[in-house]
């Protein structure tokens, strides 16, 4: 067999891409864990992998390859590294965990490396009730605040879709406008509003509705307010999109067939806006579950959210392996709603055809 035949044979069976992926992975691991000398080896491996990938890409699959390459580099590789750290043990070193892969030790070194990985950190998560309480509390806060956001967003989206056409652009603009300011500044602004001496309390005291300032800041109520406020546009926009394209003659048909306005809403508008509601709920629920900034700024010491725990494990305890384990479990919890969300999107796309 001539060498060009061998290349063709490997090419036809996608062996080159498998090899390239393996090279890239190995390269990243070397860059991550290796000593000075192996960094060079890792760099060369990645370069070869990229070249092999480009060779095939240029030949055939440039279009599909780009998103896959993107996912590989920015999702799969970092995720593999996080999983690896979650299986490691804490160490007083740099990086602060062990074992690390030493490519100089060869195959036996690799086997040895694999043998040192274990599930101790995950086991630890089940032993300390703090973690599952934090997961449950996060879940509760995420579900409740998604529901509250829906309650506020649906009437807003409905009003927008029913507004005269020349107004809709402006209303949409107003919904998006808060994004022009930093998220952090907006959350800080809520501290100014909700605090003991804040605008809300001063206003209510001035009105004479209350005698004592209300304690809102540093409670879960403040967290809910912050989340609903922050994620409102993510709920409003998809619901607005479904309501806006709703054919007005459907409502007339419902009325014509004997529905009151209210019945027409429940029997026609509400079921037809479900895809938008589902999309909005996922767009709010998924980031809220891992939310860190809002509970740490607006919440109190008793606000338990997994994002906060993750931050503390990582930066206060410097326990990277446990922090990674927390992150991996969080991701596994999120995979279910993400898959459901994708399904919903796909269904919508098919219905649209």
């Amino acid at each position: 067999m001539r060498s060009t035949d061998a290349v063709e044979w490997a090419y036809a069976r996608w062996l080159d891409l498998v090899l390239a992926a393996a090279l890239a992975l190995g390269g990243f691991l070397l860059l991550e864990h290796g000593s000075d000398g192996s960094h060079v080896t890792g760099g060369v491996m990645i370069a070869v992998a990229v070249f092999m990938g480009l060779y095939r890409i240029s030949r055939r699959v440039a279009v599909i390859a780009v998103p896959y390459l993107w996912l590989l580099v920015f999702f799969l590789v970092p995720f593999v590294i996080v999983i690896k750290i979650s299986l490691s043990d804490i160490a007083l070193a740099m990086p602060p965990y062990t074992p690390t892969l030493d490519p100089a030790a060869g195959w036996s070194g690799f086997v040895d490396f694999l043998g040192k990985l274990d599930f101790d950190n995950f086991e630890f998560l089940t032993m300390d009730p703090l973690y599952y309480k934090a997961y449950l509390s996060s879940l509760k806060i995420a579900v409740l605040s998604t529901f509250l956001t829906l309650l506020v967003a649906y009437p807003m989206a409905y009003a927008m879709a029913r507004a005269p056409e020349e107004w809709r652009g402006t209303l949409m603009m107003l919904v998006i406008l808060p994004f022009w300011t930093s998220f952090l500044i907006r959350v800080y602004a809520w501290m100014g509003i909700l605090g003991r001496e804040g605008f809300l309390n001063s206003f209510l005291l001035w009105l004479g509705i209350i005698d004592e300032p209300l304690v809102i800041l540093n409670t879960n109520i403040a967290v809910y307010i912050g989340i609903v406020y922050t994620y409102l546009p993510f709920m409003v926009l998809p619901i607005y999109a479904t309501l806006e394209k709703l054919d007005g003659s459907l409502l007339e048909a419902a009325e014509d067939l004997g529905c009151s306005r209210l019945q027409a809403f429940w029997l026609v508008t509400a079921p037809l806006s479900v895809p938008g509601v589902v999309a909005g709920c996922f767009l709010v629920f998924i980031p809220t579950l891992g939310e860190f900034v809002i509970p740490s700024l607006l919440g109190g010491s008793d606000t338990l959210m997994i994002g906060k725990i993750l931050y503390e494990e990582f930066f206060s305890n410097r326990d990277w392996p446990v922090a990674s384990a927390v992150a991996v479990v969080l991701l596994l919890i999120l995979v279910v709603p993400i898959v459901l969300f994708q399904r919903n999107q796909q269904k919508q796309a098919e219905a649209g055809k």
């Binding site: 007339e252 048909a253 067939l257 004997g258």
Partner: protein
């Protein structure tokens, strides 16, 4: 013209002064801001009629229909249904159902549920709803599609679902807004006859809005031709076609030649002098026309015979040259210019296959027609 009644007794309640109309428009005006959509309109529609509102877009026909459904209120005037004013009655309380131009089928409901939708809003018991839906499915030949969703059936089937849904509550009046607009020509023709069949079976009064004059001619018992919010003529299809009351109506329905000229009274009719040196057109008319009055003469292409020599049994003759021939299969259209430059279309039925064509381009021919073939119009 095809009428939805096979009995030899002519269906013409509008000619019977004792017959009470089902719908009465009394001096109805509808304005949107400065725009007058309906202008002081008075119209009666009778029980079991298949009534067509015909006109170009923007003539007010859709507004008229939406006022019947209850989606628009008249600015002035009254609308009576069975003698009762329905203006204050909201759409969901009227014994009127509408079939929408877009069909407006509920995309999240099956065919069965779409048809049952209106029945469930009424006080009909559950088991009767099932029976009624089955009956409607049978009527529209949709039995095997009951479980499908609207996006899983064809355009023609969707149209039938929309019809079944609007008929399910047995309304006293069914409104059809351009019901066949979305169908292709062949399906449209079939569906027109189906509509007439269903109208006859159910005995419902139908009001149809259309801009398609052929459709109106085929299905309707009477046609109202509208323009700028006014009724121009209300008559049977034959009346509209053969005896239009204005150039607008004559021109709107079918092909027509309009010849303008000065009238001169003669025994039993008038002569129309339309060109120097050409023989005047002799026409019968009931209109009271003064000598020298400017009139329009409307004559349909199929009323004019094309021949090489004048046909002596006909009162009117004109010589001209063929400038164009249109072969349409069932008939051929000859476009002839007369001596004064007037263009006239004449059509001849191609009654025989493979017949040799007598005339060709640039041939000199003679056009002949009788004195009752055309209509004299003064507006």
């Amino acid at each position: 013209m095809a009428q939805p009644h096979k009995t030899p007794v002519v269906f013409a309640p509008w000619e019977n002064p004792t017959e009470k109309p089902l719908i009465e428009f009394k001096g109805v005006t509808k304005r949107f801001g400065d725009f007058t959509a309906i202008d002081n309109l008075t119209l009666n529609i009778y029980q079991r009629e298949f009534f067509a509102l015909l006109g170009p877009s923007g003539c007010g026909k859709t507004t008229l229909m939406r006022m019947l459904a209850g989606f628009e209120d008249p600015t002035e005037g009254a609308i009576l249904l069975g003698g009762q004013d329905i203006v204050p009655v909201p759409p969901n309380k009227r014994p009127v159902n509408m079939m929408f131009q877009s069909y407006a089928l509920f995309p999240h409901l099956s065919v069965w549920d779409n048809i049952a939708f209106g029945l469930r809003r009424s006080d009909m018991p559950r088991d009767q709803i099932g029976e009624r839906v089955q009956e409607m499915l049978r009527l529209t030949r949709l039995e095997s599609f009951a479980k499908r969703k609207p996006h899983q059936i064809s355009g023609g089937q969707r149209q039938r679902v929309a019809l079944a849904r609007s008929l399910a509550k047995a309304p006293r009046l069914l409104l059809l807004d351009e019901p066949l607009g979305a169908l292709d020509k062949k399906l449209r023709n079939e569906t027109q006859f189906e509509l007439m069949d269903i109208q006859e079976k159910t005995g419902t009064t139908f009001v149809i809005v259309t801009h398609d004059q052929e459709e109106a001619m085929t299905v309707a018992s009477r046609i109202a031709v509208m323009d700028h919010g006014k009724l121009i003529q209300v008559d049977t299809p034959a009346g509209i076609y053969e005896a239009p009351n204005s150039v607008y109506v004559a021109d709107f329905i079918g092909d027509v030649n309009i010849i303008e000229g000065n009238a001169k009274r003669i025994e039993g009719g008038i002569e129309i002098h339309y060109a120097e040196g050409a023989a005047p057109i002799r026409a019968m008319t009931d209109l009271d026309i003064a000598d020298g009055q400017r009139v329009s003469y409307a004559i349909r292409p199929e009323k004019i015979a094309v021949s090489s020599e004048p046909l002596t049994d006909r009162a009117n003759h004109a010589r001209g040259k063929i400038i164009d021939i249109g072969y349409l299969g069932h008939l051929s259209s000859y476009f002839v210019t007369l001596g004064n430059g007037q263009k006239v279309e004449a059509s001849m039925t191609n009654a025989r296959r493979l017949s040799r064509r007598d005339f060709t381009w640039d041939d000199q021919v003679c056009l002949s027609w009788t004195d009752t073939a055309g209509v004299v119009l003064t507006r």
